[in-house]
Structure formats: structure tokens, C-alpha cells
């Protein structure tokens, strides 16, 4: 490409200024963006990692999924920083990563949701058959698990859970109603009804 204006015109000074100013502006914008983003990571990382763990039973994987969530959010940060519910959005990204992960796993040998007969078939409350919560959660479908984690571990409203998962409120209520009794049965007497 050739220059649009004859070189050595006085305008050249301005032109260098345009680029320098533009670059400096970009640097400032990036610094502000990174600072804002770091603050968000610091506020959100622990809750996200814990929810990821409840979803996948593995702290390493939970950390990976959380990190991937942040990568995706940083890549779209300019759009997200204004007017987006960051907390809800980060859960949505995380859950989608979990669902992807689950799909990949179910293509291979491990299918958490299809473990052999669990204590749900045993008399409720038999102590030695009681499961730890994460193991019980793992026997639910990943979608039901997501509803329980968001609704009961994170205390989001039914509406918020529906928005995060991109499903209707009645779907959330239905999954919750279906999954809670199963979880209750698996956890046995530890799990008080009221």
C-alpha cells in the first residue's frame, strides 16, 4: 500500500501522533480491563471452583474448568463488562464446560451417571451404604446435578437457575423435584426432610 499523502508533509507529525496516541490508548484500556478482570477472578474463583467440584468430584478437573471459564470470559470481556450479570454468566460458561466434558466422557469408558446399583435401592438410612454428597450427586444426570448445585449449594433463585441454564422455570422446578428425593434417598438419614 502506498501512502495517501506525500511523505515529509507537516501532517506526518500528526500521523505518527495518531498511531502513538492510539497505541497508548489501547495500552491504557488494556490495563484497566485487566485490573477489572483480575478483581472479578479474585471474587469469583472460589465459588466457581467449588461448584465445579460438586459437578465433577475432582478438584484438579474443577480447577481446570474454572480456569477455562475465566479464559472464555476474558476473551469476551469487553462485551461482558458492561451490563452483564457476571456471576450468572460465569456459571453458565462453567456449566456448559461441564456438559461438554460430560459428553466427551460418555463417548469413552467412564460414565459417572451410570454407576452400578447405588444405595438408592437399599433401605434408606442404612449407615454403611450412605454416600458422600459428591458421590450421590454423581449418580444423578448432569443436568439434574447442575440444578441442585446452582439452587442449593449456590442458593440461586429458581429464576436465576433457569436463566443460567437457558431452560424454562418449569424445567428447573421439575428437575429439582425429581432429583431432590433421589439425593435424599442416597444420603440416607443424614438428610433431614424439614
Amino acid at each position: 500500500m502506498t501512502d495517501t499523502v506525500t511523505p515529509s508533509r507537516p501532517a506526518d507529525g500528526d500521523r505518527t501522533g495518531v498511531v502513538a496516541g492510539w497505541r497508548a490508548g489501547r495500552r491504557r484500556a488494556k490495563a484497566a480491563r485487566d485490573e477489572e478482570f483480575t478483581a472479578f477472578v479474585e471474587s469469583a474463583a472460589t465459588r466457581l471452583r467449588r461448584s465445579a467440584y460438586l459437578m465433577c468430584r475432582d478438584w484438579h478437573l474443577a480447577q481446570d474448568l474454572t480456569q477455562q471459564t475465566f479464559v472464555k470470559m476474558y476473551a469476551a470481556w469487553d462485551r461482558l463488562r458492561t451490563g452483564t450479570n457476571l456471576e450468572g454468566y460465569s456459571r453458565r460458561v462453567l456449566m456448559n464446560l461441564v456438559f461438554d466434558q460430560q459428553r466427551r466422557l460418555s463417548g469413552s469408558e467412564i460414565v459417572l451417571a451410570e454407576l452400578p446399583d447405588g444405595p438408592e435401592s437399599a433401605p434408606a438410612g442404612t449407615p454403611e451404604l450412605r454416600l458422600a454428597l459428591v458421590d450421590a450427586l454423581a449418580r444423578l444426570s448432569v443436568k439434574d446435578r447442575a440444578v441442585l448445585v446452582l439452587r442449593h449449594a449456590e442458593d440461586h433463585s429458581v429464576d436465576t437457575v433457569a436463566a443460567i441454564l437457558g431452560v424454562s422455570v418449569s424445567v428447573v422446578k421439575m428437575r429439582n423435584a425429581r432429583a431432590l428425593p433421589r439425593l435424599r434417598a442416597m444420603l440416607g438419614e443424614d438428610f433431614l426432610d424439614h
Binding site: V5, R9, D14, V18, W22, W59, F70, M73, A75
Partner: protein, 201 residues
């Protein structure tokens, strides 16, 4: 019920080994930044391969790689126009207003607008604001919603589109406007009369 369930959940995550959130943020910035750049690169490459791509020549942009060019500078020639900006005999022109830092003020715009309106060489003049630029941007990238979403309307420059009465006047016209302190860049294309004013999509 909820209390008991909450206790279960709280107990379940007690084994959290923790992680350095600052390190996580740094890693996400490094990796997410690469995603951002790749996305822009892909978008630019997509246009180069598919439609027609022309970068508005912000002064000094010549030695820049396309990936470093902000979306605000992406202009695509209309189908009835020369792909690349020409030095002479342009029929249609785009003028990007702004001072040396790229800032645009209302006074700057109104002065430039009135000068262009009064310029007898100009046959047709229109102004594209942030919102219109954004709509055009969305039309240009129908298959890359992520890229579109990564751009705010305010990232996209406002500019004037115009058509000259006589293409022979373009060389002098360009020289005159490019020298102004309130013009960042000016580029012209040779278009058929059927092309949109300004010669870009």
C-alpha cells in the same frame, strides 16, 4: 431441609485445595488474550478470502499487520467499487474524522460537515454514526457473532461517506482534506453510480 442440604454441600467442599486467584487471572489474561487476537485474525482472514477486504488507511497503518488493526478501521469495499483505495480518480470517498489522538468532538464533526456540505466538488454526503456503523458491522460478520459481540458500537468510528461530482478532482480534494487536523484518514474508490455513496458496504 435447605439448612441441612446446605451443610451437606458446605461439608463436601471442605477439601478445597485452593488456588492462587491472581495467577489464575494472569493465565486467563494470557490465554484469553490469544483467543481475542486469533478471533480478530480469523475474522480478517475470512474477509480477505471471501468478500473483499480493505483496511481504512489510518496514517502509518501500512506497516501494521492486519491482526493489529482495530475493528473500527475495517472498511469493506462495495461490490461496484474498486477493491483498494485509489490515489487518483476516485468517485467515492470515506473520511474518518478525529484529532491526532483519534478523539472526535461535536464541534469537529459539525465544522467538517459544513465544510463538506459547502464544497462544490461534493455531490452527495452522508454521515455514519456509531450505531449505524455497528449495524453495518453486524451485516458484515453474520457468521461470527462472537466477534461482533466483542465489539461495542463506540469502538466503531463515525465517518463521512461522500460522492464527488467529478472524479478528476479527487487528487486535490484528498490532499486538502488529509492535511486537516480534524481528519484521521481519507480514502477513495472508483465506483459505478449504482454503488452506495462512499463506496463501502
Amino acid at each position: 431441609m435447605d439448612t441441612s442440604l446446605r451443610e451437606h454441600f458446605d461439608r463436601a467442599v471442605r477439601g478445597d485445595p485452593g488456588a492462587d486467584s491472581e495467577a489464575m487471572a494472569h493465565a486467563a489474561i494470557a490465554q484469553g488474550g490469544r483467543v481475542r487476537r486469533r478471533r480478530k485474525q480469523l475474522a480478517v482472514a475470512g474477509v480477505a478470502a471471501g468478500v473483499v477486504m480493505v483496511l481504512a488507511v489510518v496514517a502509518g497503518v501500512n506497516h501494521r499487520s492486519p491482526a493489529a488493526v482495530a475493528p473500527r478501521m475495517t472498511l469493506v469495499a462495495a461490490s461496484d467499487c474498486s477493491v483498494k483505495p485509489v490515489q487518483n480518480h476516485a468517485t467515492d470517498v470515506v473520511i474518518l474524522p478525529g484529532d491526532a489522538d483519534g478523539h472526535v468532538t461535536d464541534q469537529m464533526l459539525s465544522r467538517l460537515r459544513s465544510d463538506l456540505t459547502d464544497d462544490p466538488r461534493v455531490a452527495a454526503l452522508s454521515f455514519e454514526n456509531h450505531e449505524q456503523a455497528y449495524q453495518r458491522f453486524q451485516r458484515l460478520w453474520p457468521n461470527d457473532p462472537d466477534f461482533v459481540a466483542s465489539v461495542n458500537p463506540n469502538d466503531l468510528a463515525e465517518f463521512f461517506r461522500l460522492r464527488l461530482v467529478d472524479a478528476a478532482t479527487y487528487t486535490a480534494f484528498r490532499t486538502q482534506y488529509a492535511a486537516r487536523a480534524d481528519v484521521v484518514s481519507i480514502e477513495g474508490r472508483i465506483c459505478k453510480p449504482s454503488a452506495p455513496v462512499g463506496g463501502i458496504q
